[in-house]
């Protein structure tokens, strides 16, 4: 795994316009940086990232299987009691999952370590699936990178192939907070994939959803919603006014309710408890657990439910090394062994591995200038060359 500086495509402004990405002269595409790329070997991809991510997915499923039978676990994760049976039934009924992204600390050598699993509302999907691939093809054609490069990227084909296997009949509604461009863009892309797979789709904003006198959810034309593909976190849905109507609504959700167990950072101590010592796991504990003394004052403290690097504290040798602000953290926290991201010239790459229908299908590298990857991070493309 090398970070290799490279010349930007001279047609970057047009490329961005072709995908309706925001481009600012002198600054480039917002959230995207192609002045460098990461080069991997095929064995790094297959042995260190693809294989371990799928293995971790298997371990995560064992955590879900345990959690749905253990009220104490559901309580520790902060899942409201009203939803315990609902979450458990969604797992027992085999409700299918579509996608997720595991964030790993990896420097090209030694086992990748799972930092967290964005199992419910992952974004950066379009950059990963489409814009990154276009960069590879054009950069090779322009001679900016060697010919014969490859990329770990079956994301688009996998999503299109997975939609028909979800067993959805009739119209699917797609919903998110429409005022957030990043969320809307990701959901629009998923909707495009669903249409390419032959599905009937319709977008609506979360706040447009209505309820009828029989407790069913409706869209703005009073059509009853039967399938809702949402880019809206489960913990928000459960907490909001209509949330209590969800279990009896008859709506099929993608991602399914059991993803609430995996998108919660409480997953990390549960994984460690069940699979302590696994090479791809870092020691992790619920905050206040006496067993966390083994971290010896070097740890990362995270709220169960924060997003985009908010409310994270890094402590090393008993001293706070880094702290990010944010709106989260009213709930419980976890502590995880401190395994810093590699640092290359002031950049800290975070390797994300996409899972579609639980199969590892692509890579997403984001860099920030701090140890914690936040909302100002930049997507860096990658290439495989042996």
């Amino acid at each position: 795994m090398q970070r290799i500086p490279v010349t930007e495509r001279p047609n970057l402004a047009q490329a961005a316009a072709g995908h309706e990405l925001e481009f600012t002269p002198g600054q480039g595409v917002t959230g995207w940086d192609e002045t460098a790329y990461y080069q991997f070997t095929m064995s790094q991809i297959e042995e260190d990232l693809e294989g371990p991510s799928e293995e971790l997915e298997g371990l995560c499923f064992e955590v879900v299987a345990r959690a749905v039978d253990d009220e104490e676990v559901l309580r520790r994760l902060g899942i409201p009691e009203h939803f315990w049976d609902y979450v458990a039934d969604s797992w027992r009924n085999g409700e299918k999952n579509l996608y997720g992204r595991m964030d790993l600390s990896y420097d090209g050598d030694g086992p990748a370590k799972l930092l967290e699993y964005n199992a419910d509302t992952p974004t950066a999907l379009y950059e990963s699936a489409v814009f990154q691939w276009e960069w590879l093809e054009q950069a090779m054609a322009l001679g900016l990178i060697p010919r014969g490069c490859n990329q770990f990227n079956d994301v688009h084909e996998s999503i299109v192939a997975s939609f028909p296997l979800l067993g959805i009949d009739g119209l699917s509604h797609f919903a998110c907070n429409q005022d957030i461009e990043d969320d809307k863009g990701t959901l629009d892309y998923l909707e495009e994939c669903a249409r390419e797979a032959g599905m009937d789709t319709r977008f609506l904003a979360m706040e447009e959803i209505g309820i009828d006198d029989r407790g069913r959810f409706t869209d703005s034309d009073d059509q009853v919603i039967t399938t809702l593909i949402k880019l809206y976190p489960w913990e928000w849905i459960m907490d909001e006014e209509f949330g209590r109507n969800v279990p009896a609504s008859g709506v099929r959700f993608i991602e399914p309710p059991w993803k609430a167990i995996l998108s919660n950072k409480g997953l990390l101590p549960l994984l460690w408890e069940m699979f302590e010592g696994h090479p791809n796991l870092l020691p992790a504990f619920f905050d206040g657990d006496p067993a966390s003394d083994m971290l010896a004052g070097s740890y990362v403290r995270k709220p169960l439910l924060s997003r985009q690097g908010a409310n994270i504290e890094i402590v090393q040798g008993g001293k706070t090394l880094f702290h990010s602000d944010g709106p989260y953290g009213a709930e419980a926290h976890i502590v995880q062994g401190f395994h810093p991201l590699p640092e290359i010239g002031g950049n800290y790459p975070l390797v994300g591995c996409w899972l579609v229908a639980s199969k590892a299908v692509g890579l997403c590298i984001r860099e920030d200038r701090t140890l914690v990857t936040g909302k100002d991070c930049r997507f860096i493309p990658h290439a495989i060359l042996d």
């Binding site: 992204r101 509302t121 957030i180 994939c193 309820i211 059509q223 976190p233």
Partner: protein
């Protein structure tokens, strides 16, 4: 994070986009009749099938037909005398109106998809020659064995009357992006 407006996925990457122009959607075999009798009178049809599929469509009519709280609004869309009272009431006890069922599409005769339901058909005031599904998809004007756009064969959604909106979205307003 990247900022977007909307996205057009006119790709790249060897993705095979359907090569049909937008105005020529793929069609599938179907059978459409105005009445049960018209189906019986078609020598190519099995009479038991006519009856079973008619009943299936008729049974769905009240659930899937578009709903109105005013008869005038319903008639504006479907024509004078072309609406009836739905077997529902609003939460305040008011009447609900829906268009009359003007035909049906037989589920058993649909090609290209598995286990399709029969569905009721309607005719709108602005285009009374064509049948439309309960989800307002054009089925064309032909009866008997015909072909219809694939999108018109999907299961029609249930139409309800919403009593409240806005019960979702507050966390998004508070926290912002759902991205992780």
């Amino acid at each position: 994070m990247t900022r977007w407006n909307t996205i057009s996925v006119a790709l790249l990457m060897g993705v095979s986009l359907i090569a049909l122009p937008a105005c020529e959607e793929a069609k599938v075999d179907a059978a459409v009749f105005e009445t049960l009798k018209q189906c019986y009178d078609d020598p190519s049809m099995n009479q038991d099938r006519c009856k079973i599929d008619y009943k299936e469509a008729k049974d769905q009519h009240a659930a899937v037909a578009p709903k109105y709280t005013s008869e005038a609004d319903c008639q504006a869309d479907f024509g004078s005398g072309k609406c009836e009272k739905a077997p529902y009431q609003t939460s305040s006890g008011g009447s609900v109106f829906m268009p009359l069922m003007m035909g049906y599409m037989m589920g058993s005769m649909l090609g290209g998809r598995r286990s399709m339901m029969s569905q009721p058909l309607y005719r709108s005031a602005d285009n009374p020659k064509s049948f439309r599904t309960a989800d307002n998809r054009n089925v064309g004007s032909a009866t008997g064995r015909t072909q219809v756009a694939r999108s018109a064969t999907s299961r029609p959604s249930f139409k309800s009357s919403t009593i409240k909106r806005g019960g979702f979205g507050s966390s998004g307003r508070r926290f912002g992006s759902a991205a992780t």
